[in-house]
């Protein structure tokens, strides 16, 4: 209990200042939607970056988060859209939310057909352009880095020529699909203003604050979207920026951080510097992070523990060497075992991302992965619940699925949906995939079958 002191006036003023600063749009208004129908509210980190960048360029922005709590009614959404009166609406789009996104886009168009709608996110980067013909409510697909691409669209709309001078975009112009030249993202990530430091996030509804200290991945796992989307490159924020953001969030009363970097420890020296700074400034943080097992060593793990890392997540994918080779994971089971042991030695919780239904994987191999996770003493819950591999647009596996023995099921699907998990393989039947899914579920600690009060 710590309520004896009233909130300081200065803090209140600070909040107000930020609220006011959100409304300094000179060039137009952009509404951004984060739709997560199956998760509690999370920091909309990607949209935060877009909003910060647009704001820097004179646009008024607003982020609307719709989580599993369904924060709005039809009528309140309608009021919000009419009152904010945006010229452009953007959506973060994934395979799992696209149905909701398209429904919302239709709803927005029904309220005001003049509003332009842009989709971005992992589902869009490599979506076949012809899919636009099945999405008449959508005006633009953003294919390049979000900040720059959305800015070109917003500026084109503000200039009165919504389809001129666009880059990084695919659009449907009078029935013709038009592709524009791609944009290259800024090399120095610090050039993108920080949504945290600009006060764009309301942390009250989130338990854990999402941070991003780097973007991209240089590896070649054939099922993964990230290396393709970022041209196998990785870019970083400066250590100063990362520390400044951590301090800001701590000041806002949150100390649990989720670093969404695909490989947090890609540059060992940089990681040591970040951890050193956290320790030096005595920042009381609890951190979740993800990295590869070949990017970790004892000294780093020891320091991670000291700095406040409570959980480290590794990509296991499969416990069969031959499957790891096919998917080009390029780590060995020995490396996995050592990295897990190392974390456990320093009492850091380990999470393992595992998949089943991988190319070349037989049922016995899939069972081996489950056994491996159990044997390592990793709790099968949360992120350590295995998932069926998904075939997303743009991955090497999706592009050459037949070569990898993937056999899509004969369902009819719209062009904006990728194969996803609707497949079997040369080595695993649909029934076997369902069986291994059930096995994982049986072994899971959090399948939450029964609630008794």
């Amino acid at each position: 209990m710590d309520r004896a002191n009233l909130p300081l006036l200065l803090d209140l003023l600070e909040e107000k200042w930020h609220e006011v600063s959100m409304h300094q749009g000179k060039h137009g208004k952009v509404l951004l939607f984060e739709v997560n129908p199956y998760s509690p509210p999370m920091t909309p980190i990607s949209l935060g970056y877009l909003a910060a960048f647009l704001k820097k360029h004179g646009f008024e922005t607003k982020i609307v988060t719709i989580s599993e709590y369904g924060e709005h009614s039809l009528n309140s959404l309608s009021r919000l859209i009419k009152e904010f009166d945006p010229q452009l609406v953007g959506f973060s789009t994934y395979q799992r939310n696209i149905l909701y996104v398209l429904g919302l886009a239709s709803f927005i168009k029904s309220l005001n057909s003049e509003i332009k709608i842009a989709l971005g996110g992992p589902q869009i980067t490599f979506m076949p352009s012809q899919a636009l013909k099945e999405m008449p409510m959508i005006d633009y697909l953003c294919r390049s880095e979000g900040e720059l691409t959305l800015l070109t669209i917003a500026q084109a709309i503000a200039g009165g020529h919504p389809f001129d001078s666009l880059k990084g975009v695919t659009f449907n112009y009078q029935g013709e699909i038009v592709e524009t030249e791609p944009l290259v993202g800024l090399e120095d990530l610090d050039e993108y203003p920080s949504p945290h430091l600009m006060g764009l996030f309301d942390y009250t509804q989130v338990e854990e604050v999402i941070m991003l200290s780097s973007r991209g991945c240089p590896y070649n796992c054939i099922f993964c979207y990230t290396p393709q989307a970022f041209n196998h490159k990785i870019r970083f924020h400066s250590i100063e920026r990362v520390i400044e953001e951590i301090k800001w969030v701590l000041k806002k009363g949150k100390n649990r951080f989720w670093f969404a970097d695909p490989n947090f420890s890609f540059k060992a020296e940089r990681v040591h510097q970040i951890l050193d700074e956290i320790i030096r400034h005595e920042l009381k943080v609890n951190m979740w992070l993800e990295t590869r097992v070949d990017l970790i060593n004892e000294a780093m793990m020891k320091k991670m523990k000291r700095a406040g890392v409570h959980t480290i997540a590794y990509g296991l994918e499969s416990a069969s060497e031959h499957v790891l080779k096919i998917i080009k994971k390029r780590v060995s089971l020995d490396q996995l075992r050592n990295a897990i042991k190392l974390a456990q030695k320093y009492e850091i919780e380990v999470e393992l991302f595992s998949l089943f239904g991988l190319p070349g994987e037989r049922f016995v191999d899939a069972v081996k992965t489950l056994e491996f996770v159990k044997k390592q003493g990793v709790k099968i819950q949360g992120n350590s619940n295995a998932q069926q591999m998904q075939l997303y647009f743009g991955t090497p596996l999706t592009r050459n699925y037949a070569r990898y023995g993937i056999k899509p099921l004969p369902d009819k699907r719209p062009a904006y949906i990728s194969i996803g998990d609707r497949y079997e393989t040369d080595t695993m039947t649909r029934e076997e995939i369902e069986k291994i899914k059930a096995l994982w579920r049986q072994n899971s600690l959090d399948r939450g079958k029964r609630v008794v009060s």
Partner: protein, 468 residues
């Protein structure tokens, strides 16, 4: 916006207004339907399912889970088979890539017979529909068939109240106490009884307060939760969870409730909860409780008690010194009041709190005759808050006491400028003019003072003196 809907179905239930409600329902929401006899009410249930299906088909970003609460009957298989017609389109929607369909009907069974009798129906539901949930009472033994999805506890003879309490309890148990959500009002719900009245929450439904006839057009704006009941309702719901709730947590809940009532200036209610908190919280947390008990006592005018409690709390922030100062002031211990208030000002504190402290300190200086110190403080204060008439009144009084009548007159005039109905300041002006021999003005302002407040005794005395 409506969080969830609870509907007691009857043959007379009007559906048009219910379908209109869907636009005000959260886009991902739950509807609980209570049917005493699902077969007899099947036309209504199918009509409702059809309405929801049509709504969800039009708005493909909305999701509704329909919980069908009814007693067990062994002949419900065809009924449920027919219900799948309304949901099946959503099962394959969007190429099965969604985690869960947007329209699911969950059976919830009440009045459960023995497992053997129920088993064929349960097997049917699990294979062909959805595994059901059960509402069980305290007498129910622990053996529950494997295929049961959820158990609800029958905490009240009315299943609407039981499910309402269950949902509320789930929300509350997610909190880490203290949590201000405990004392803040719940979101509006639509609890519709069999007569077609809508209530804003299950507690309002239970007490039959704030009901609106469903057929009275647009009802969202007419649904007001009984906010004064919210904190207690949540508290009772939590306590109903029984010994599962740790003593420490119960103490923190009482503390939160105390704070809530204190903020609403309901001091007696706050006091009750702080006293209960004191008996439950850890030793470490007791200081904080003593502190707020002291604040309550000070607000009730029990100054000596308040001082003792502040000393027990031993939390010496500016609020504590401020309250200590006020207590001493009201007990006539002006020197002690002065010392405490000076200590309060040594902290970095919000400006609006500073104003009150300085005013009290200046008053204390006045009472102990240190007028120049009071004037000096007030001169500084007036630079930042020129709109507070009490400053001019006090400063004028101090000037008067030190025979600086012109300055006193200027202050009282300013006070009157800010509050033209201030009888005291007119009377003060009268005395100041009287002191400098301006009888005419003294009489004028005395008249004004007595016009506003004929009972002002020192003005009456002055009037008699001026006219003698």
């Amino acid at each position: 916006m409506i969080d969830k809907c609870y509907l007691k179905l009857s043959p007379e239930t009007p559906f048009e207004p219910i379908f209109n409600l869907l636009s005000n329902l959260k886009i991902f929401s739950d509807i609980y339907v209570f049917a005493d006899d699902p077969l007899e009410l099947s036309p209504q249930i199918f009509k409702l399912a059809q309405g929801i299906r049509d709504f969800l088909s039009q708005y493909s970003f909305c999701r509704i889970y329909l919980h069908l609460v009814h007693p067990f009957r062994p002949d419900l298989n065809p009924f449920y088979t027919q219900l799948t017609e309304f949901t099946s389109a959503f099962n394959i929607e969007g190429y099965n890539h969604q985690c869960t369909p947007r329209f699911i009907i969950f059976p919830v069974l009440t009045h459960i017979p023995n497992e053997q009798e129920m088993l064929p129906f349960l097997n049917f539901l699990e294979d062909q529909f959805m595994p059901p949930s059960l509402i069980v009472d305290a007498s129910h033994d622990a053996s529950v068939p494997q295929m049961i999805e959820r158990l609800f506890y029958l905490s009240d003879p009315d299943p609407i109240v039981s499910l309402g309490q269950h949902e509320l309890l789930l929300d509350l148990t997610e909190m880490e106490y203290p949590d201000e959500r405990l004392t803040s009002p719940c979101m509006v719900q639509a609890v519709i009884d069999e007569r077609g009245y809508v209530y804003p929450c299950f507690r309002a439904y239970q007490t039959k307060t704030g009901g609106v006839k469903l057929t009275e057009g647009y009802i969202e704006d007419k649904l007001f939760p009984p906010t004064e009941m919210c904190a207690e309702c949540k508290y009772r719901t939590l306590i109903s969870a029984g010994p599962a709730l740790e003593k420490r947590v119960q103490g923190e809940i009482h503390f939160e409730l105390g704070l809530s009532y204190f903020d609403q200036a309901a001091i007696e209610a706050a006091l009750k909860h702080f006293n209960q908190a004191l008996a439950l919280v850890s030793e470490e947390d007791k200081s904080e409780v003593y502190f707020y008990l002291a604040l309550c006592k000070a607000n009730l005018g029990e100054y000596q008690n308040a001082i003792e409690l502040l000393q027990r709390a031993n939390i010496w922030n500016y609020n504590a010194y401020f309250y200590l100062g006020i207590c001493h002031f009201n007990l006539g211990n002006y020197k002690r009041a002065k010392d405490a208030l000076i200590k309060a000002l040594e902290f970095e504190l919000p400006f609006e709190d500073k104003i009150s402290i300085v005013l009290y300190l200046a008053s204390a200086y006045k009472e102990i005759g240190e007028y120049s110190k009071a004037i000096s403080l007030l001169k500084n204060l007036v630079l930042f808050s020129p709109e507070i008439k009490e400053i001019y009144n006090l400063m004028g009084t101090c000037y008067y006491k030190t025979h600086q009548y012109q300055d006193a007159i200027a202050c009282f005039e300013k006070a009157i400028g800010l509050d033209p109905n201030s009888a005291i300041d007119y009377a003060n002006l009268c005395l100041s003019f009287k002191a400098i021999g301006n009888k005419e003005k003294a009489i004028l302002y005395c008249q004004k003072a007595l016009q506003i407040d004929p009972t002002l005794s020192f003005a009456r005395t002055a009037w008699e003196e001026l006219n003698s």
